[in-house]
Amino acid sequence: MTQVSKLTRRSVLATGAAALGATTLGQPAWAQAKANLQLSWLHSTQFAGSYIALKRGYYEGLEVALQQGGPNAPVEPPVVSGTALIGISAADYTAAAVQEGAPFKILGVAMQNNPFAIASLAGNPVNEPADLVGKRIGMALTNTPVLQALCTLNGVDINAIEIVPTQYSPQPLVAGDVDCLLCWATDLPVAMTIQGVDNVTMLMADYGYAVHSQTYIATEDSLTNRRADILALMAGEVKGWGDYRADTDAATQLTLDMFPDAGLDADTQRLQAARQVPLMFSELTDANGFGWWTDDTVAANIETLGLLGRTVTADLWDRSILEEIHGA
């Protein structure tokens, strides 16, 4: 990290020009550089800031393609192979990949607060971690470390909670198979609200679960050799998400217009877009700009990741791109 931040403006321009030269080889001189941004899930307002950036031409000098994710589309392989310049990941997945030898850096944090939540029905609510005792929780067994971390952070005995393996859907909760669900605050609870099911959401980030989510990742190699492209892409993201925050309804409308075949429900998307705002923007980003973090938030992340069995150091995060964009 220190080495990267020591780069001079001149050397950045030089490597940027070299990268441009490399990527445009064999194309007419006026052709724009191209880059893929690998999204972590299906198209929806979850990525509306990127759609705004694309539509309004905020990725200056770069032709960006947004690649959709899915249940069987992990983000790490395309980013490692260079198919995607930047991927949308999360600190826990990135930490795991780095442990397995992937040379990733986190360049920006779109979701300051982790979106993991415990959703329950209003008649039998889970308002705080202590309420989990004696409850049946529906979740993928693969998320057991997440629940374990929440329990450890709040002094709850995980053995007092019955884990029921379920698919990722609100249906088991509504049908009464379980008392609560481990899910994202921005998807299943929104679906229940739209379907008229009265529900309660307890955000795990409010109870010490500090894991940066929707993080921008790139390889160290790209950071060195395609720095200008990364700067252009991230600058576009910062501007796009700024517009998103100013008017989430307009962002939703743009999403619906861009993806008529995605089967998006307008009301669901509008509510999701609004609920995402407090996860993405905070006093920290107000003061420093979109995507920002501090040594303190990184320290909290390292602690939570430790509970999840991931050992990472602070140099997983590389703020040099954001510093250049926000002029810090």
């Binding site: 693969t142 249906q171 089967g263």
Partner: protein, 508 residues
Amino acid sequence: MTRYALGPIAALVLWELIARGLAGSFVLAPPSAIAVYLVENFGLIARALGVTLGNAAAGFVIGNCAAIALAACAIVWPRSDAAIRGAALLVFCLPLVATGPILRVVFGPGPWPQIVLAALAVYYTTLIPLLVGLRAVPSDWLDLLRSYGRGRFSALLHVRAMAALPYLVAGLQIAAPAAFLGAMVGEFTGAERGMGVLTIRAMRGMNVEMTWTLAAVATAVAMLGYWGIGAIAARMLQEDPPVILAAPAALKGGGLGTAAMVAFLVVLVWDVGLRLLDLNTFFAKGPLDVFDALALAPDARDTWSILLRALGETAVFLVPGYFAGLVLGALIAMLIVLVPSVAGTAMPIAIALRSVPIITTAPLVVLLMGRGAAGTMVLVAIMVFFPTLIACLHGLRQAPSRVMDVMNSYAAGPLQQLMRVRIPAMLPAFFAAARMNVPASVLAVTVVEWLATGNGIGSTMALSASVSDYDLLWSAVVIVSLLCVVGYGVVGLVERRVLRVYAPEQLA
């Protein structure tokens, strides 16, 4: 005709009533709601169907052509038979969780991962019945050809190809829903649009009408494919199945030698393939990486304990589900032969069970059977049931009419005819189904565990991919594939003992 229509109408009414009864639990939409949703969102569904159907059709053609080419190669050049069967089995064993992301990286955005997954979903269930059919030939026909000085290629073209047609039709009919499902699941790798994409959206949004409209459309398309192939086949297959009286075949030796050769070839192709595709070793692990992870690495013991525990969980569902699906498929096929009007109700349900994605049916099965082992077993049985049913139906129809005439002239009843003629005629097809369902059921159980129940080896593989533990993922793939080969071998042993008595031409 009215007799055939009664069953489906009754089923629709029952469906409507059950769905209305379950309205509060968000698991099943009634047919009336599906009709309304379809009318209101016709454009959306039609566009998605167009995309998925196009990919499924391309995969269907590619997969089946590959199967036909492989089968022809195995017959004309018998030495290649074991290698082709072995390699085909191993490729079919590869779980979607592992292949999907790699296909996406190799092909980039676009339809190719979906097409390849659709092709992979069909080629094996065509290849295995086809290999049976190409041998379902009276030996005197081959002797006749040989006496004219003609070789194996002429035998394939003039005798074997004709004899194999009914078996090919069975394979193609099984392939129709499988291709569609393969294309849908292929869309989980990050496709822009299609029925699979919409299904994920509908499930997460708890939009029951949309979920079941997609399921109904997928079923309707698969059914049309099934009937269309059947109708074309009915016009082509005018000939009566031959009476096969063959001398018992000599036992073949050298089983271990061929197995070693196949294993060596597979490892070679795997290693060279990864190098040629130039895939990053972060997620594309070669044979040496897996050997290292399972034998040499300091955490090899941990890897083994994770894999063995997961496999234990899986076996509990897999084995009973496999046998239940097999027995049920054979029994219903016999019932349809005895009471043909049953087909009007049974076939649509059978096709629906096979063509509706598991993520759609799983909540319903879980609701009916509970969240325990029974639900998963039922889901595995469903996946095994359909190919068995189709293969057995075709097998039962392979009873030669001359033998049936003899039975009729002695006034033998339908049950007698079934027991003494049709079931023996069905046995080669039944065992083909039993063999091809070994990897198919393993594939089914891993998908169920991955998408629905969240335990066992399927879930372990999904987890290892999501946390980038690709050593564990590839190790799991290797172990699962080896277990498939063992299961296939065991079924093959039983088959040889039975067919030595009833259909010795298959062992030649």
